[in-house]
């Protein structure tokens, strides 16, 4: 293509038409804060760790918590907490490792891949937390049906005749509440990441297409 060759020749000749920053201005730029997507991903991850961390702390040692401890038994109760924290620590480690691998010096494709990997880790972190909440809620509601004296009292007061229907409805409501919560979280995160990584995803697909 002739024009492209001509443009190439004039490309260097056009150097004078660009602005020229002084050393002082450039030094000023260094001091400014980055607003790159990696920084945003980092902040979002911190918020995610914060939100789920806060949820666990808020739930801890409240009156209802004491109540669930009695119903579920200490082994189930503390066991699930210990397991939960071990997994969360694992996620924090993975996130840190991925984050450290993001480096503006690497080839574009690897850089994009590493960013998407970090985002995937956080996606799994959210799914894990939502799954944990879901299973914990369902397990607790079943244990409540089996062990909670207040449930027995309630069924008596309500003159429940068919216990099976009551049990199914009780667990069903617990699942529904957990599912709605998961749905809301999922929508919010899809929206945040969708906006943040739309361009990156598009460019990554473009590069991937070239390798086929």
């Amino acid at each position: 293509m002739d024009q492209l060759e001509q443009l190439k020749q004039q490309w260097t000749a056009s150097d004078g038409s660009y602005p020229k920053y002084s050393a002082g201005q450039l030094t000023g730029f260094i001091a400014k804060r980055s607003s790159s997507i990696v920084k945003w991903l980092f902040y979002i991850a911190l918020i995610e760790f914060g939100i789920f961390g806060l949820l666990t702390i808020l739930m801890y040692d409240t009156e209802s918590q004491q109540h669930s401890k009695e119903i579920a038994g200490e082994l189930f109760y503390y066991g699930s907490f210990v397991l939960h924290y071990v997994v969360i620590m694992g996620f924090i480690y993975l996130f840190y490792k991925n984050y450290k691998n993001i480096d503006a010096e690497q080839p574009t494709r690897s850089l994009m891949k590493n960013i998407l990997k970090t985002r995937r880790t956080m996606k799994w972190y959210i799914w894990y937390n939502l799954g944990y909440i879901m299973i914990f809620t369902v397990a607790l509601s079943i244990l409540m049906l089996l062990n909670d004296p207040s449930i027995t009292k309630m069924t008596e007061e309500l003159h429940v005749k068919n216990m099976t229907t009551f049990n199914v409805a009780f667990v069903g409501i617990a699942v529904a509440i957990a599912a709605v919560m998961c749905g809301v979280f999922y929508l919010v995160y899809s929206l945040i990441y969708g906006i943040l990584l739309r361009r990156l995803n598009k460019n990554y697909e473009e590069l991937k297409k070239m390798e086929v």
């Binding site: 000749a13 002084s22 030094t27 400014k32 997507i37 503006a104 010096e105 574009t108 473009e206 390798e211």
Partner: protein
Amino acid sequence: MSKELEAEFVKQLEDNQNIVHKICRLYTNDQDAHNDLFQEVTIQLWKAYPKFRGDAKFSTWMYRVALNTAITLYRKSKRRVTTQAYESVEFKIADNQEHDESSEQIALLYTAIKQLNDIEKALVFLYLEDKNYRDISETLGISEVNARVKMNRVKTKLSNLINP
């Protein structure tokens, strides 16, 4: 990081800043966005600078970091406004050149390049900077053959854009 290192970096950046300006002009549509991207590239270059020392040529290293910032890391913060004033200064032909038909064609070509997607722009940019396909493939992280094939396709696309 030490003051000497900073001074050394700023000096190199000052000498090679045209590379960054060219990328900014290719990837943004107004002066505000241009400055914004330039600033982000500077920050990313400075962050990566300690790793650079001793390695390749400063300018070669700069292509990678600057393009990565423009294509991947940069988050367009402002609304995209296409200002006519900026478009018209996009590719200035040196003053001593006659504004004949061919220079008009070249200006048209530059406008066509700006319509390409981010990856295609990067290919064309590296091509115009006279990088060989090995450098291009290493910068983008694709194979040399694929870089060549894609570049040929982009040439056809550009040709169709300027001669509809």
